[in-house]
Amino acid sequence: MNKHTSDITDAEESLALQQAQSVADSDAATELAMQNTLLTPRFYTTDFDEMDRIDVTPVRAEWDDLIADMVADPNKGHFKKNEDWDHVDWDGMEPELKKEFLDFLISSCTAEFSGCVLYKEMKRRGSNSDITQLFQLMARDEARHAGFINDALREAGVAVNLGFLTQKKKYTYFRPKFIYYATYLSEKIGYARYITIFRHLEANPQHRFHPIFKWFEEWCGDEFRHGEAFALLMKTDPKLTRGFNVFWIKFFLTAVYGTMYVRDHQRPAFHKALGVDPDWYAHEVFTKTSKMTEQIFPITLDIEHPRWQRNLERLQKANVDMAGATGLKKIGAQVRAGMAFVALFTIPVKKHQAPASVRLEPVY
């Protein structure tokens, strides 16, 4: 595994990394005191010819509506600090919470940044004007989100280092359809995650320990629109949601839900401060995501099945055991994690008819 920015949590390691890279920052004097976090997005290629062949004619009316909405840029003025941005007492924050919350911000920033890199690459390599316009608009949103999170990190004394471009980097490859399934789900689940936290904090403002959560409502509107765009892309080619691809859809749903469950349980102090039970949160997010994905996927996972919660917990437990273990113990934990995943994956799905019209409105 590559070293990821979010791995760097202690100052010594950051410093060592900083020295090793002999950072020549013109702002070095002020930046030196800051914890330096190197962003390390991955670089991807895909089958750009295949993407160029996408023809949005079957969904033209809905497509044009969505693009017009994105061009109008309803969130243009949103990502600015105003009087709602309360003072954050980073020094007074409980250390465990601070650590988990910084990890949350850094991983979110990396994700937005990686999305930007991926979308921009597609924009640049493609020649189909519908597709390149969409990716340009999405790259714009992701860069804006990353900038906003970066500013919150700066307040906390964490400097993001963009020096990765001069390091040697290898380009991996994803098939276009895997990008559609993964990013579609990622955007929709992102919307569900942001809006669930936002609504919860609206009802329980005493748990809002950082002002960034106040921005989540409009923020997730961008995620929502990106998801809509991928739904329309998939709608242009019915094969993507039929036949053996239904197996892949089930795989991605299970993997994405499972990953989210495991990751969220790594941040107990963060969820406690928000006043959110991670099990309740996961169930809430899965319910909303499943409802939305009915717009394009012919199946949803049966998250009320008795095996569902039980095996999520087994997966999480095995994952924790894996981290600290070596040798046979580690293999044992890996086998248990694999078995839990298979148990989740083999739960019978709920089938339904996808509606004729794809477009949804954000209603949560």
Binding site: H4, V23, R42, L118, D151, K168, K169, Y171, F178
Partner: protein
């Protein structure tokens, strides 16, 4: 491109880094139309480019593209998909316990 041999080529490129509040982004653009394929590696030469907060820095540099061998390209195409979960927003933290 050989089945097992890597090839090296030089390409002029422009690196743009934006470290502004409105937009945090960074890109490399090859100025000779060079195209990257699965498994290729890219090394931009010269010192690390740092954009101070609030600025956009754009520099012309030289890059080396290390072309993957035919076999490596095939391998990357076959196995790259397994890493696709990286695209998910919440999957970046590698540590199980923070």
């Amino acid at each position: 491109m050989g089945l097992l041999t890597k090839e090296f080529e030089r390409a002029p490129c422009t690196v743009e880094i934006s470290h502004k509040f409105e937009s945090l982004h960074a890109h490399v653009r090859f100025n000779n139309g060079a195209v990257i394929h699965p498994g290729d590696e890219v090394q931009v030469h010269g010192p690390e480019i740092m954009a101070p907060f609030g600025e956009i820095v754009s520099e012309d540099r030289e890059a080396t593209i290390i072309r993957a061998s035919k076999l490596e390209q095939l391998w990357t195409r076959l196995t790259g998909d397994f890493e696709v979960m990286e695209l998910c927003e919440f999957s970046f933290s590698e540590e199980v316990t923070l």
